[in-house]
Symmetry: D3
Subunit: 241 residues, 6 copies
Amino acid sequence: MPRCNNRAPAQMRPVRIIRHYVRHAEGSVLIEYGETRVICTASVIEKVPPFLKGAGQGWLTAEYGMLPRSTGERMQREAAKGKQSGRTMEIQRLIGRALRSILDLEKLGERTIQMDCDVIQADGGTRTASITGAFVALYDAIDYLRAERMISQNPIRDHVAAVSVGILKGQPLLDLDYLEDSGCDTDLNVVMTGSLGLVEVQGTAEKVVFSRQELDVMLNMAQQGLQELFDVQRKALETVA
Amino acid sequence: MPRCNNRAPAQMRPVRIIRHYVRHAEGSVLIEYGETRVICTASVIEKVPPFLKGAGQGWLTAEYGMLPRSTGERMQREAAKGKQSGRTMEIQRLIGRALRSILDLEKLGERTIQMDCDVIQADGGTRTASITGAFVALYDAIDYLRAERMISQNPIRDHVAAVSVGILKGQPLLDLDYLEDSGCDTDLNVVMTGSLGLVEVQGTAEKVVFSRQELDVMLNMAQQGLQELFDVQRKALETVA
Amino acid sequence: MPRCNNRAPAQMRPVRIIRHYVRHAEGSVLIEYGETRVICTASVIEKVPPFLKGAGQGWLTAEYGMLPRSTGERMQREAAKGKQSGRTMEIQRLIGRALRSILDLEKLGERTIQMDCDVIQADGGTRTASITGAFVALYDAIDYLRAERMISQNPIRDHVAAVSVGILKGQPLLDLDYLEDSGCDTDLNVVMTGSLGLVEVQGTAEKVVFSRQELDVMLNMAQQGLQELFDVQRKALETVA
Amino acid sequence: MPRCNNRAPAQMRPVRIIRHYVRHAEGSVLIEYGETRVICTASVIEKVPPFLKGAGQGWLTAEYGMLPRSTGERMQREAAKGKQSGRTMEIQRLIGRALRSILDLEKLGERTIQMDCDVIQADGGTRTASITGAFVALYDAIDYLRAERMISQNPIRDHVAAVSVGILKGQPLLDLDYLEDSGCDTDLNVVMTGSLGLVEVQGTAEKVVFSRQELDVMLNMAQQGLQELFDVQRKALETVA
Amino acid sequence: MPRCNNRAPAQMRPVRIIRHYVRHAEGSVLIEYGETRVICTASVIEKVPPFLKGAGQGWLTAEYGMLPRSTGERMQREAAKGKQSGRTMEIQRLIGRALRSILDLEKLGERTIQMDCDVIQADGGTRTASITGAFVALYDAIDYLRAERMISQNPIRDHVAAVSVGILKGQPLLDLDYLEDSGCDTDLNVVMTGSLGLVEVQGTAEKVVFSRQELDVMLNMAQQGLQELFDVQRKALETVA
Amino acid sequence: MPRCNNRAPAQMRPVRIIRHYVRHAEGSVLIEYGETRVICTASVIEKVPPFLKGAGQGWLTAEYGMLPRSTGERMQREAAKGKQSGRTMEIQRLIGRALRSILDLEKLGERTIQMDCDVIQADGGTRTASITGAFVALYDAIDYLRAERMISQNPIRDHVAAVSVGILKGQPLLDLDYLEDSGCDTDLNVVMTGSLGLVEVQGTAEKVVFSRQELDVMLNMAQQGLQELFDVQRKALETVA
């Protein structure tokens, strides 16, 4: 069973990052993992949540959403339904943790970076693309704070990016698209820093349990994809805005 | 006080329509009125709301949203707040009425067209751009239904588009951007069909009341802008998809 | 097709205003447009919304509701459903804008006038009757503030009232009752000040689009009805409380 | 400490019932207990709640609300807050139970009587006035069903009415107004049928506990007031509509 | 018709109170009335609700919940449904009033005792068991405050407990279990202090109205049960923690 | 830094399972991991969610809650707040996936097993204890279905249990209590089947990223704990109910 566009098992989809995508935000990108497209904006908000008042540090929090017709069948709008689904909550918590892991909150000062990741078109991997894109939006928001002399030291300690791996009929596959994801026995999301430290490892047996060995194979494949993603991030950031 | 980019009082901002913007939707466009950018998708749903069951006709309904950082200051996400604002509800009701006015619901058959207008970037005129863009997305969705032989007759009777006009310090201005809109004494939104029938006229004295004469001047200016908008719609639809 | 009670096309229904209808409120009226009955209360609240703190001015805001059985078929109670409909939000925003248009918010001082318009019985025109009645309730609340020497200058600059006009089978009709409203091709709500300045013009093609000429005819008819309404307001206010 | 208007301890406030107060409802009254004014409407709905489907009987349910400015200080509108208070829920459950106690649900047939009790002006005793008034509205709704030949036998078995009693500084008082109610040590609401059967006895020690003896005194006083209320109901129902 | 386990009509089910049931709470018990089991926790919170700020007194408030499968058929989880039922609100208001009746709020100081009563297993009488158990949890929380020298005088003035009585086919029965409760004509909940003062009397005719005489019989039976409950409370509190 | 009660790094807390803890549920246990106590109930519901109607298979879903005072500081009751937190949603989704992984949904037939995991006392590991306990409650519910001859083949394919591991100051620790969990650099939850297949691996760098090697050490430690947990499950199930 060949992959779409003759992709090799360990091959990422084409990844593209467009910076300064939304003019009002301090940092903003459009990121594409193949047909998956996510707008990530980083907003600087000059206050911290109540539990951090006076603690001499900042915070980063994330929200995630999907346009109703980003998916094959139209999803109900969460604003109209009046609540966010469990899946939405899970993903936005993941994005927040991933980005906080490389951020020195003391150096950020008493302010909040509010990340918003909104999926324009979904084809698998929306949470991993969100994290990879959000890093670049965060980078630009920090740049803004430094240019405005609002912070003196760079609070970003490292890159962070994310990718999924799965096992489909015994074959490990990197960066699953929607169809592959739906058919997988096992699904693993990996969040890693530029220095190859693990931030999140979330493996789920969708249909068939997996072994320690399979976990190892998948982690190797993920690491390979992540190194490519760090390169894409670096190239995007080299461009003069 | 010159307008941004030396626009003349009766001059529209550059309007751009990109069709087939989101791959899953039966119809979808990105529409821009200058810096205002809205994604409009038309989804075909093979059922009707309860009040129309068995009535032998279809329906069209619309929802509207703004990405949290489409605006200068980040807005709270309505999905997180758990309810849509009065402004959101007002706008989505307006979009629905505007599009139903040119749609023969009997010819549509017992199905619903669900319009979604999501603002990616806001700079005034999001509701008018939504209507103008939604018409093109609707057109493509109807085309899809005809190509699939799900309907035999075209239910679209005419074009529909919308534009705003305002009076700023005594000067009538066409297609207000955000700054102009904030400073206006009066604000008028006009929805019109291609044959120049009025669908909606919504004039509001924000600060100073307006006279019948001023209303006439504004309506003339709106009509001029709307004719330009119908041209943009026509050109967009001429392109082979 | 004759109108109910042999009303002429340009004839208002009997309009009645009873002041001091609810004893606790600083201003309160029962207003009737024929069979439509609305209680309007104006409450003085000694604080302003957060966005006006320290701005040296006051505010006026409005809420609207319908008793569940004010209508032909019982409507679900919005308090039980847990949210207000889009229609309710749209109407209460309209009432607020209409009354703020004739109110000098600086002279009001740092306080809020909270209008509540509650429909006891509905027969078309509940939003227009609400505005016309709310003006009188506002007047009495301002009188209270002056009697209590809480304000020194009258913040009310002019009368404000509202009326609907429609076109039913080609015939323009003033002050539509429920049946007429349901059958109309076009529906126009006009809010005007005592000096005949336009505050709101909201015209909607329910079934058939309307022309500029028809808009003019409807606006003329509305103005005639509004002059009558200003008289009714004046007479009500002449009475010694 | 004399009562307002020199009322004797065991004297009811003037009670007034106006039938056919709202034209759309199958039954409707305005009831006044002194300055307390409540609109009660009875709506006939031709279905039953899910738990009674096919059970060959009907149902009666009640909802209660207060206009925001029915009270001395404006209360927040429950529809705007998005939920009903515990007090509201408690009262509407009480009204429903009270009226079901005298209604033969089999004879009603598979339909629901929906009572709505909406307080226009509050001065103590809104729940007791609601019950007393709702009985008359129910009576008229049943009359409507019989006139329409929708039911053949009268499902109303008896009158039902309600009154409050309290102990204020050792003195038992019938039919408390708002000020008395606020100052009371003990507050008792009694719902009774025309044949003097007890339906609800709800006694609460607000500040000081009460004895069995005091309970007896209060129940005697309540019964006296209730007999007067049954008379008012009877007189109201004698009038030709 | 004999009662379950051959209980006599005026006999309580076995009542058991286990103190210090949940380690984190300042006071906590598991109380059992036969098969009904409720966890009651008393939490000390060092602030008061807004309406008591600066009033020099404390407050006590209560919340009530049922585990979804505490009942014969699984109930929907209120947290998942997004709102508490009218029954839940009614019960938690009752528990709060009952405990405040024996608490000197001035002596408590500016803090709140938050009672939580959570039903683990339901077999009738959950609200009465909650009150009886909550008293013991409150006692332990007050003990904690005294041991920590946060208060100097005991704010507890008396015991408080609650029991239900019903009439089933003419026979008065003490402390109804679920089956008895479902079949009862009349249901009475009585809350009393240790010195036999009445705090709450809530009698409801479920099917057949009741007479003053029947009320008296039920109150006598309740008092007998309550004296037993005060004993159980005293014994539980004698044990060294 | 020694562990509480001199626990060795790779030592579980005492684990205890009490079956048939709540009488109404088809399966129910109280499970303790040290001071953490969770009630797990399995309810058999004779219908499936809409997306499985007619699919010839069953479903299992889970809900999770915490009593407000199960924690050191009282948490707000989710039913009162009106929504479940992101953490709650994440945990209940995890529990559901874990149990479905060992359940043959075809053999279950067209019915739903509704798991409820309610935390009575929390001291770290509530989600892992929930999974381990829920398995036993599920087992008993399946037993009930077999005893009632509602299913003929056992749909349970294997054991499933869960445990947490963390790294605290460089030291890997099995089955973290609350204090350890709060201080950890890394936190790993592992769900495994009796035949040592991985179902879920969720590793999160709370403060410091972790390496592949550390992940391996933690997985080894988890597996050791899980084997112990399978033994506890087996012993609990051997007991005659």
